[in-house]
């Protein structure tokens, strides 16, 4: 298959201005990533700055509740509170290698923006983060964090003021500064080579899972469950297991309020293949190909497209796609709080909700790894408002 293509998905559907930059990026990635020097630097930062390896935690109380053996892959313990830093550190190092001095990116939940500033500061790069005005309100605490860390946070008030609009605007801004500035894409979306780069940097998750579960259980898991939108935490967890068909892979997207009208982010349920932000993806759109806004309370899942690789994996049936509604998600937050003392991110709570909803189906000995992608500190106000009003 052609580089950057995942079946019919993927590609490089960008303006000519950016093509040379993408080619340069791909070359830089292929040149530097495999070197032991790069691996050492990245490995060192992942270990000492980000806190890897993250634990694989046997959630005894939660397991009892859902009737099988559940391990949580603790990406919430990564510095900054989510898996996003794995990728940000990798790309920031790459940016240094390319001799660029600035990072731009967009963010919805703020987790990726935060990770980008952190990685930028460590590597001595300036950072500008584009963020939809609506998301800036919803994730106000992460905006504060980014600003405190020295990022320029630029509000995006076009469209609905959410992630889709921020990505569009960042792509535009990038065309004007791509020679000095790297667009640090935050998920396995965008034009090639981004999906590949991001998945590669995130695949440390699955590599660790593999080693850890063998040590603990002496066998691979029966199932890996991950939430997702672009798919970076899911692919990060899945990639090491894709060739082993015995390991079932489950992807949970944002159901929003309902699958009807424009109240969902469930692109695998109500979207179809289309081209957005540089690639063919499964995407929410109308009959004529106009992209539709997504809707979910989890800002980090609020994107109308699924990345090319996860799109292809779901189409082929290798990965099963599910969704969780907002209401179920908030309940799942509570369950995890009470059983394990952990406040999950609303995104992560989608995967948790899947486990709760399907608990009748699990067999007692079934071994499930839930990729616990992030902590819920950023969602604290939304969660409190949901349960206690105001």
């Amino acid at each position: 298959m052609k580089k950057g293509k995942f079946g019919k998905y993927g590609g490089q559907f960008v303006n000519e201005i950016l093509m040379p930059i993408l080619i340069e990026l791909e070359a830089a990635f292929e040149k530097h990533y495999p070197t032991s020097e790069f691996q050492e630097k990245l490995g060192g930062l992942l270990r000492d700055y980000a806190g890897r390896p993250t634990p694989l935690y046997y959630a005894r109380n939660f397991s009892k509740l859902v009737g099988c053996q559940v391990y949580l892959k603790r990406e919430d313990l990564v510095c900054g509170g989510s898996h996003k830093l794995n990728n940000a550190l990798g790309q920031a190092l790459l940016t240094k290698e390319m001799g660029k001095s600035r990072l731009i990116t967009e963010t919805a939940a703020g987790q990726h923006g935060l990770a980008t500033v952190m990685a930028g500061n460590v590597c001595g790069l300036e950072t500008e983060v584009f963020m939809g005005v609506k998301d800036m309100k919803r994730q106000a605490s992460n905006v504060k964090r980014m600003k405190l860390l020295g990022a320029k946070v630029t509000p995006v008030d076009i469209g609905m003021g959410v992630l889709k609009d921020a990505v569009s605007d960042t792509l535009r801004k990038w065309t004007a500064c791509s020679q000095t500035t790297h667009y640090l894409m935050g998920s396995t979306v965008g034009p090639h080579p981004y999906p590949e780069i991001v998945a590669t940097f995130q695949s440390v998750i699955g590599t660790e899972i593999k080693e850890q579960i063998l040590k603990k259980e002496d066998r691979p898991p029966d199932k890996i469950v991950a939430c997702g939108s672009g798919g970076s935490n899911a692919l990060g967890a899945f990639r090491a297991f894709i060739d082993n068909e015995d390991v079932k892979l489950v992807f949970v997207e944002g159901g929003g309020e309902s699958l009807e009208a424009d109240n969902s982010a469930a692109a695998f349920q109500v979207g179809k293949p289309g081209i957005l932000h540089g690639a063919v993806m499964q995407v929410l759109q109308d009959e004529h190909g106009q992209i539709k806004p997504s809707k979910t309370r989890a800002a980090g899942l609020n994107y109308p497209g699924r990345g090319p690789e996860i799109s292809a994996l779901c189409e082929s049936g290798r990965v099963k796609a599910y969704y969780a509604f907002d209401k179920e998600v908030f309940e799942a937050v509570k369950v995890m709080c009470r059983t394990e003392g952990l406040i999950p991110a609303l995104e992560t709570a989608h995967a948790i909700s899947y486990m709760i909803k399907h608990k009748e189906e699990f067999e007692k000995g079934e071994l499930v790894v839930l990729n616990y992608s992030g902590r819920g500190d950023k969602d604290l106000d939304a969660i409190m408002r949901y349960f206690h009003g105001a």
Partner: protein, 275 residues
């Protein structure tokens, strides 16, 4: 009229080409038709006919707002194609180059889409988010339906790519003046001039330069260095967006602007030839 004919005609007249860019349906279809009429009546040689898209990532704030308004008003790709027909029905014969983002033809089916616009009266297509690497289908289907695929060349384009693009291009080449998105700009960088000269070494194909052109001086300067014409889009939208209630009232101003930019194209052509 075919693009080749138009460029032949302009050569005879010793004029640079002016291609205004209009997104159809903003603020309504009727106005778009009048706008196109006004432009062609005031020196527009080719019409870049935009089909609005929800996420126009190569467009600046002016055209983003244009697309958003048009979509809110219920404009759809089929209505746009119908719009091309209406232009032709008005007796306007200038070549029409359709511009849209790739998802629009992708969803309809590339071949079907190209056939439809051809049938409606278009001569070419620009898809700003399809670089040569992804253009196989577009080129193949374009050949079948007789629609030129127009490619863009940017300041970042390497010699390597320039050659590749020049090899497969037909109709004309779209020179992106600046690193950035569409939108009127105060001054044009020297880089445009250098880029035109650089491209000229690879091809004799007509070169139209766009992004950031909003007045006679810019048009003149760009054509003088070797471009065969200029593209101006946001500059016109910026005029009528000031009066969206009654955009027709801005048509005289638009007419004057079009005439001036065309004048720049003519001047530039003659300056280039040294008289």
């Amino acid at each position: 009229m075919e693009l080749e004919e138009k460029f032949q005609e302009l050569k005879m007249k010793r004029e640079g080409a002016h291609m205004p860019h209009v997104y159809y349906g903003d603020p309504n279809e009727d106005f778009s038709l009048k706008l196109i009429e006004t432009l062609t009546a005031n020196g527009a040689d080719i019409i870049e006919f935009g089909i609005p898209f929800s996420d126009p990532t190569a467009d600046g704030p002016t055209f983003q707002a244009v697309c958003e308004r048009a979509l809110e008003n219920g404009v759809t790709p089929p209505k746009c194609i119908q719009g091309i027909r209406k232009v032709r029905e008005k007796g306007i014969e200038n070549p029409i180059v359709v511009t849209t983002y790739y998802n629009i033809p992708y969803v309809m089916g590339i071949g079907a889409f190209l056939n439809e616009i051809k049938e409606a009266g278009a001569q070419a297509i620009i898809v700003p988010n399809v670089p040569v690497e992804e253009a196989d289908v577009l080129l193949a289907e374009g050949k079948k339906s007789g629609i030129h695929t127009i490619f863009q060349i940017a300041p970042t384009t390497t010699e390597d790519r320039l050659k590749k693009i020049a090899d497969i291009a037909s109709g004309f080449l779209y020179i992106i003046n600046v690193e950035g998105v569409t939108g009127a700009r105060e001054s044009l960088a020297d880089s445009t001039l250098k880029l035109v000269q650089r491209v000229r070494r690879h091809t004799n194909m007509p070169l139209l330069a766009g992004f950031g052109i909003s007045n006679r001086q810019q048009a003149s300067a760009v054509v003088a260095t070797g471009a065969d014409g200029v593209i101006a889009g946001s500059a016109y939208a910026k005029v009528y967006e000031k009066n969206l209630e009654k955009p027709e009232e801005t048509l005289p101003e638009i007419a004057r602007l079009a005439a001036q930019i065309k004048q720049g194209c003519i001047e530039g052509y003659r300056r280039r030839q040294g008289n």
